[in-house]
């Protein structure tokens, strides 16, 4: 599903150029659950942003679903993103002015889904995330775990092929964290590809494969024992 080859990303200031991603290559197959780990500043988030079509690489190739997307302009990237990719963040990033229902409904609005279908799909996903009873509440009225469940609901409401999760349990206690990881596992089991950036070895164990990075490069790649064939 995803194939990156010799991917590069630099950050430049007036005098200094920092290499964020340095000739990175790997592949993620459809239905896989991959964790990306590494110390702060190793390039994990940059990688996630490029994979999520939020940022453009400075070099190398990025093939998404068989299409070379490196070099796509913002409009093309946005279009591809809204139909194929869902995001889950550490800090939930819900829109405070919108209710739970409206937050989850938003991606469907942007992809032009009709109101009746929107309502049905939002209800369906909220039921699935066990947050239906909170649909009229606003994010500030929810606990961290509930907010992250809403964020996951929003990420999956469009049935994306890929979910990118950036430390999804970073702001949660262990029990809420486990619930979120269970949710992601269920989604993966249902066929959604997941790439997760995490510092947590515990969370990484939910995935099939762990890519470890340092200074913008891949240092190791472990397939967890139970998934080795």
């Amino acid at each position: 599903m995803i194939k990156i080859t010799d991917l590069e990303k630099f950050y430049r200031t007036d005098e200094v150029q920092t290499i964020a991603i340095n000739k990175l290559s790997f592949e993620v197959k459809e239905g896989e659950f991959v964790s990306v780990m590494g110390p702060s500043g190793c390039g994990k988030s940059t990688l996630l942003n490029i994979l999520g079509l939020l940022d453009d690489p400075d070099g190398g190739s990025y093939i998404f679903n068989g299409i070379e997307v490196a070099g796509f302009n913002e409009r093309k990237r946005a279009n591809l993103r809204k139909h194929n990719i869902g995001f889950v963040f550490q800090s939930f990033n819900l829109i405070d002015e919108l209710s739970v229902f409206e937050n989850v409904e938003l991606p469907l609005i942007y992809t032009g889904v009709k109101p009746a279908e929107r309502k049905e799909r939002v209800h369906e996903v909220l039921e699935k995330m066990q947050i239906m009873h909170r649909r009229k509440h606003f994010p500030q009225q929810l606990s961290g775990g509930q907010q992250q469940r809403v964020a996951v609901a929003r990420a999956v409401v469009n049935n994306p092929k890929l979910i990118l999760a950036d430390e999804p349990t970073g702001n949660l206690d262990s029990s809420n964290g486990n619930e979120v990881m269970d949710l992601l596992t269920e989604l993966n089991a249902a066929g959604t590809t997941i790439i997760m950036v995490t510092h947590s070895e515990h969370d990484a164990k939910y995935s099939h494969r762990i890519i470890r990075m340092l200074d913008g490069q891949k240092v190791t790649e472990n397939i967890l024992a139970e998934y080795q064939h």
Binding site: A78, E97, E105, L106, I109
Partner: protein
């Protein structure tokens, strides 16, 4: 999608109550003032919009030429007559003349001061296409005792519009029967009369025995306002040429003196905005108000743009999230435009509330009678134009800026608000305060000019002088009246003139003196006075002596300085002078005095002795004159029973002459205060926001030892720099605008440097007060608190 945009917009508005409240208040005030000004301008531009008035012109008479040329809005009787009968381009013509001479109009049950009456030719109704409710428009008058009244007058005099055949009595003796009722004429017009009498009454004054045999051959008396309705494709120039040719051929004096009189046809819709000769007068004020409208709206819009873009960082996260979950830029752009629409709708609703509340006050200050009928499509059209232009001007930039955030940076808090967004905001603040300073400068100069003309010595003492017109009946008891008045307490003097000294409109070219150039275009204002007038009015005699009240005074003339100068008479005392048919000598020269508005240069005046002038002037002393006023009224009632005591003080008459200018001054004062208030609202919002943004920096600086003064300076100096730049920009613009406005006046105040410096310092001071409150508040906050909350 629209619904969710609405919800989101509403919640966003509610979330930032403080900043949005500031913006909303500024915008509503701006919109309210802009709509008031737009309505005011529209009323000025809609003057004389009566039926199809686009081909109707007033005939202005241009007397003589060169330096002494004068243009009058009145014309002689033959103009209308010959225009209609001999000029094919003229479709119709009518004359109108104030119906003076009566004091009271009464019916069997009501009596009113005789006002609002006019003599007209019967063609009047056709020229202006006035609709008859009752009566016959082609033969409106049945004879000399006939009157046509408006619907309003019918209600006023008879309490019903069923007034045909009823009688109105003038001064209890002359009866006029109502033979027609017409629809009301708009107040905003030169035809704002309510009773129309046949011109025939006036024309019968010509009985063939006088110098002028008939009204239609009287080329000497400019008694009428003449209106010509031209054919649709007619050339005004051609009509003027033909009128001039007719005057040269028919006017016997034109042959004698070779006078070069001419005409100007003024479109009637321009009568209030341009002089009789077509020079711009009030239109200048209208243009300046147009500029003020744009300035005030800009100030309000800038507040909105600045507060919105400055706080864009708070929206950055939301924008980024929306982008992440699929919104493209156009969707976000539309969202922000919808938010602006909601905000502006709210502002316009508030503005309309303000208009509703303030309309009576506005009408009072502006001297208008504008009804704000919110069911009127025209008002909505105007509100719509103001609304849409303001919305477009102030919503696009914030929407572009907000929708342009790069989601990654924004979500991490590294908002880059587009290249130069901060600079753009600074430019807007500069513009905003430049506009405010311009308005402050204008207010000070207008106030200074009004002070100048109202306090300038006009060459006579107008304080505590009341005057009134004496009917012939009263004049027959003049000596008794004077004796009684002089014996009242607090009366300093009594005198007479046949002219209104404050605003004398009478002129004549019928003068002569030894050595007068036959081609001379000398036009003079004749003022008939008695012997007490000059001393009582404290006019200064420069040479010769005053009238003595003897029979020989009837052959004596007192000229003003300008008359002597323009006539070119050297050593005038004792020299011969002729006015009308009276040949006499000059016995005095009086210092120049303003007997018309200070908008005009002082013109030549000749004072002649009139033993029986009809206007009585009474000067009172400083004490309480209420008892004397009651006594004067009693004297009036004794000698003029049944007529209301109709008097006025010269001071008031003088003020009335500058009424429009005083109103303009008042409106400017209000606009300036509002402009600076709205600007300061924006500045307050920005400074509050800056203080919030720099909370952490302030905390660190304080921990490192910065004083309150240093922190206050840190937060204020950038804003104050901007205000200083605004002053530098505004001063030359304000100077130019006021120079332009002062061209309306022949006598004008100086554009002193201190006005400009004062306006700048005042603005800086107000801005400093606005900013420093927030700066000081931030500076005295405990740094531990600000660092912790950060």
């Amino acid at each position: 999608m629209f619904k969710i945009h609405l919800k989101s917009a509403w919640r966003n508005l509610w979330k930032s109550k403080f900043y949005n409240g500031l913006s909303l208040l500024g915008l509503s005030l701006g919109l309210c003032v802009a709509i008031f000004i737009a309505v005011w301008i529209k009323a000025e531009l809609n003057y004389n919009k009566i039926g199809d008035s686009s081909h109707i012109y007033r005939v202005s008479s241009i007397l003589s030429s060169g330096e002494n040329s004068q243009t009058w809005g009145s014309s002689v009787g033959p103009v209308a007559y010959y225009a209609k009968t001999e000029i094919p381009e003229v479709e119709n013509a009518t004359r109108i003349m104030d119906f003076n001479g009566y004091r009271i109009f009464s019916t069997s049950s009501n009596k009113f001061e005789a006002r609002g009456g006019a003599f007209i030719d019967p063609e009047f109704f056709n020229v202006f296409n006035l609709k008859f409710i009752d009566g016959n428009s082609s033969a409106p008058f049945s004879g000399n005792n006939s009157v046509i009244i408006t619907k309003k007058a019918a209600l006023k005099y008879f309490g019903t519009i069923e007034a045909m055949g009823k009688t109105i009595a003038a001064d209890y003796k002359d009866n006029f029967t109502v033979t027609g009722i017409i629809e009301d004429i708009p107040k905003n017009s030169s035809l704002d009369y309510e009773l129309f009498f046949p011109m025939l009454i006036f024309s019968e004054n010509y009985d063939g025995t006088g110098y002028w045999k008939s009204m239609n051959s009287d080329w000497g008396n400019f008694n009428f306002v003449t209106y010509l309705k031209l054919q649709k494709d007619a050339s005004e120039e051609k009509v003027i040429q033909k009128l001039t040719k007719i005057q040269q051929a028919k006017d016997p004096n034109a042959h004698l003196s070779g006078e070069k009189d001419s005409y100007y046809l003024q479109p009637i819709q321009q009568m209030n905005l341009y002089s009789y000769g077509g020079d711009p007068t009030r239109i200048k004020t209208v243009r300046i108000f147009g500029i003020v409208l744009v300035l005030i709206l800009s100030i309000a819009c800038i507040n909105y743009v600045n507060l919105n873009t400055a706080r864009s960082i708070q929206r950055a996260k939301e924008v980024s999230l929306r982008k992440l979950i699929g919104a493209d830029r156009s969707q976000l752009f539309i969202q922000f435009i919808i938010e602006s629409c909601i905000f502006f709708l709210l502002a316009i609703v508030l503005a309309m509330g303000l208009i509703y509340l303030l309309a009576p006050y506005f009408n009072q200050v502006a001297g208008k009678d504008i009804h704000f009928n919110f069911l009127e499509p025209e008002l909505w059209g105007m509100i719509g134009v103001v609304f849409v232009s303001t919305l477009v001007a102030s919503s696009i930039y914030p929407a572009v800026l907000l929708s342009s955030f790069k989601p990654l940076e924004a979500i991490k808090g590294n908002v880059i608000t587009g290249v130069g967004a901060g600079t753009f905001r600074k430019v807007l603040v500069c513009l905003q305060f430049s506009f405010s300073v311009i308005l402050i400068i204008s207010t000070i100069i207008i106030g200074k000019q009004l002070d100048f003309i109202t306090s300038k010595n006009p060459g006579y003492d107008r304080s505590q002088v009341l005057n009134f017109y004496m009917s012939s009946k009263m004049r027959s008891h003049k000596e008794a009246i004077v004796n009684q008045v002089e014996n009242l307490p607090n009366i300093a003097g009594v005198s007479f003139s046949n002219s209104n000294i404050v605003n004398n409109g009478m002129t004549t070219g019928d003068t002569n003196w030894d050595g007068k150039d036959p081609q001379s275009d000398f036009i003079v204002h004749p003022i008939g006075i008695n012997k007490d007038f000059i001393p009582m009015m404290k006019m200064q005699l420069l040479a010769g002596e005053n009238f003595k009240g003897r029979a020989e005074d009837s052959l004596h003339f007192i000229l003003n300085e300008t008359a002597v100068k323009q006539a070119g008479i050297k050593n005038p005392i004792g020299k011969s002078f002729e006015l009308w048919d009276t040949k006499g000598i000059i016995t005095g020269v009086v210092k120049d005095f303003n007997f018309t508005s200070m908008k005009n240069q002082i013109q030549p005046a000749v004072m002649y002795y009139d033993p029986d002038p009809y206007r009585m002037y009474i000067k009172t002393t400083d004490g309480d004159i209420s008892a004397s006023m009651v006594a004067i009224e009693e004297i009036w009632n004794t000698y003029n029973p049944g007529f209301p005591f109709n008097y006025s003080f010269l001071d008031k008459q003088y003020e009335t002459m500058y009424r429009d200018d005083i109103r303009t001054g008042k409106l400017f004062k209000i606009f300036s205060i509002l402009a600076i208030f709205v600007s300061c609202l924006g500045l307050f919002g920005l400074s509050t926001y800056t203080a919030q943004l720099k909370k952490r920096e302030i905390g660190i600086r304080k921990v490192l030892g910065a004083s309150v003064a240093q922190i206050t300076t840190l937060l204020s100096k950038d804003f104050l720099k901007l205000i200083a730049i605004s002053c530098i920009i505004a001063i030359p613009v304000g100077w130019y605008l006021m120079q332009f406005w002062l061209q309306n006046f022949a006598y004008k105040t100086n554009l002193d440097w201190w006005v400009f410096a004062g306006a700048g310092i005042l603005t800086l001071f107000i801005a400093l007060l606005t900013i420093s409150s927030q700066a000081i508040k931030a500076a005295i906050t405990n740094p531990v608190k600000s660092l912790r909350t950060e």
